[in-house]
Amino acid sequence: MLSIKNLQAKVEETDILKGLSLEIKPGEVHAIMGPNGAGKSTLGNVLSGRADYEVTGGTVSFDGKNLLDMDTEERAREGLFLAFQYPVEIPGVSNLEFLKASVDSIRAHRGEDPIDSVTFLKLAREKCKAIDLDQSFLKRGVNEGFSGGEKKRNEIMQMMMLQPKLCILDETDSGLDIDALQVVAEGVNSLRDPNRSFIVVTHYQRLLDYIVPDFVHVLADGKIVKSGGKELALELEEKGYGWIEESAAKGV
């Protein structure tokens, strides 16, 4: 589904990704862990086409198409979804109109008819309920005045509405208490499907107790330095990142 080869990217004049490679097949959940500054968030931003991130080398193919050639909105329409680490507040644009615009554009891209407003509202309410978000949030400005946890739940709610092929969760667990973490994880798990893949970017192992990954990768200094199964996350939790960074530096 997603094939990243030797990806290099910089922000302003600083190289952040320095040759990252990753293969993701349909239905797989990949966790990306690593110390601060390793390039974890950059990966999500580069994959979704954020303008401040310049790709300087490598290729990314998404369902056989060249992802790096596409505009941000095209990537979304092709089925890529980034759950933001810091969801943006947009006063004056209601959550509902935002969701409708989003779902309509993605459906249009797939050649599907728009959903009528009544059905859409019903669907949006259902998803709110599933993620424990009060319906009144639909009327409010996008993320406007939401608490940290509400913002993260709103991201998952959007994911449920858009039904993407590839979901990238960028530190979705940060700032969540344990109850909120469980709700978010349940939302994510409800979307797990043989045809849908996930990249779960996180600093802590905790989230992976709830969203159990098939693979765990350690990102350090812009590269994947170690990959393993879910037990790797536990090892990291116990030993920290230091030993991996050291062995990576030694070229082991």
Binding site: T72, F81, H109, Q158
Partner: protein, 445 residues
């Protein structure tokens, strides 16, 4: 094209125009006031950023040649608004297009159709609160005042239907000026809604519309006021709204101004007795080479009054806007609460906003705040929308509209919100595919 002397021609035109005899004294005073005021240049403080050069390209000081227009109802029809309607085309009252329902305690009549007794009332009241020293167009309106709307509401009477005063302008063979007046007096604890709407036919305009409204809001009374300008972008509009607030009265005003060649609105509110409240909200949306100029003056002359003033503007292309908002707290105006906020969004690097919020305070026990901001579209917000599949173009429009949506949503009359929403959305694009998600009213959600 020859440069014409606007003032000289205005004086000549005022001398020959046919007017109502009962307004003779106002006309004479107005002419004297006008003669004392020079034509504004870039050095005139109150006109510094608005170019009036268009007024010297043609002779606008001539009578309109025709006020006949076919099928103009669709221009101002507001669905589900059940209102008393008075329609003026190029300043000329159109009885056939108007509809006034009589109500006990409510006088609603045009100056020309008023009874001699009503005309006598009008002549003593008109021109009493309109100030002319800052705006020569109001002086000229005094000089040329002839017809207009007179609304008088008796004590304790609530006017059942909104009063919808429509001004239509149409293209003339030669440039011309049209004048109109609105005089409102609300008695003690009276209540009325006045909607002043300005529209034009969809063609190059050459009528300069000069309209002045004066309102006295009696003790404990409330005036809900709307002023909606959506004429063709070539229109010339000079408007003045002058309000006097008596004890514990309220004035709530919503102003929407799409741009014109020159569109100027002066709003003056006097808190003259005490305990009164003024709530004023405005949106201006010039694009292309349009200009909008808003000057508001709030005079706190008495204690315990409040003002909440919020204006937002979005300037696109090479358009220009001026917002000059002044709140003046006089020495006797203790316990005043006054806030003024003006936020602007520039959509192009050639668009311009000149904003000047002013607070002048001469009392010591008051709480006042004022602020102005100028910003561009938020790139992070745009990325967020695009990352959900929304096109860059639609994201721009959603974000722009979001900037004014809050003010639009606060309009209490549903019918007006429904009318204004698509009109405002159209300012950003004529492509309905791109505005389809924003014209759904937030209330429907």
């Amino acid at each position: 094209m020859a440069v014409v002397d606007f003032n000289q021609q205005a004086v000549a035109f005022a001398a020959q125009a046919d007017k109502q005899t009962f307004l003779k004294s106002l006309n004479q005073t107005g002419l004297d006031q006008f003669k004392a005021l020079p034509f504004p240049t870039r050095k005139t403080e109150d006109w510094k950023y608005t170019s009036l050069v268009a007024l010297t390209k043609h002779n606008y000081n001539q009578a309109v040649q025709t006020s006949d227009v076919e099928g103009c109802e669709s221009l101002y029809d507001i669905i589900d608004l059940n209102a008393n309607r008075l329609v003026f085309v190029n300043g000329v009252y159109k009885q056939a297009l108007s509809n006034i329902e009589t109500q006990q305690g409510v006088t609603l009549v045009t100056f020309a159709n008023a009874s001699p007794a009503q005309q006598a009332e009008i002549s003593t009241k008109v021109g009493q609160i309109a100030e002319t020293d800052r705006n020569l167009f109001t002086a000229l309106n005094n000089a040329q005042a002839s017809d207009g709307v007179y609304l008088n509401v008796a004590k304790d009477v609530q006017v059942l239907k909104p009063i919808h005063v429509v001004h239509v302008t149409t293209a003339q063979t030669n440039a011309a000026s049209a004048f109109s007046r609105c005089l409102v007096e609300l008695g003690v604890h009276a209540n009325a809604t006045l909607i002043e709407q300005f529209v034009s036919t969809d063609e190059e305009q050459n009528v300069l519309l000069n309209q002045t409204t004066e309102a006295v809001v009696g003790d404990g009374a409330k005036l809900n006021h709307y002023r909606l300008n959506s004429e063709h972008e070539s229109s010339l509009h000079f408007g003045g709204v002058y309000v006097e607030l008596k004890r514990d009265s309220q004035f709530e005003s919503y102003q929407v101004l799409l741009g014109g060649k020159v569109k100027r609105l002066d709003v003056l509110v006097n808190h003259s007795v005490g305990g009164s409240h003024c709530e004023m909200k405005g949106v201006y949306l010039p694009k292309n080479k349009q200009q909008v100029d808003i000057h508001s003056y709030i005079e706190h002359k008495a204690p315990n009054c409040t003002t909440n003033e919020v204006y937002r503007g979005i300037m696109a292309d090479q358009s220009k806007a001026v917002f000059n908002g002044r709140i003046h707290i006089h020495p006797d105006a203790q316990k005043t609460l006054a806030e003024l906020s003006n936020k602007n969004l520039l959509l192009s690097d050639k668009a311009q906003i000149n904003t000047k919020p002013e607070l002048e305070i001469y009392a010591d026990d008051v709480r006042c705040a004022h602020g102005a901001t100028v910003a561009q579209l938020n790139e992070t917000a745009k990325f967020y929308l695009r990352s959900r599949g929304i096109s860059a173009q639609e994201a721009d429009i959603m974000l722009s509209f979001g900037f004014i949506n809050e003010l639009l949503d606060s309009i209490p009359l549903d019918a007006l919100r429904t009318k204004m929403r698509p009109l405002m959305a159209e300012q950003f694009t004529s492509d309905r595919e791109l505005t389809k998600h924003i014209i759904i009213d937030g209330e429907d959600a």
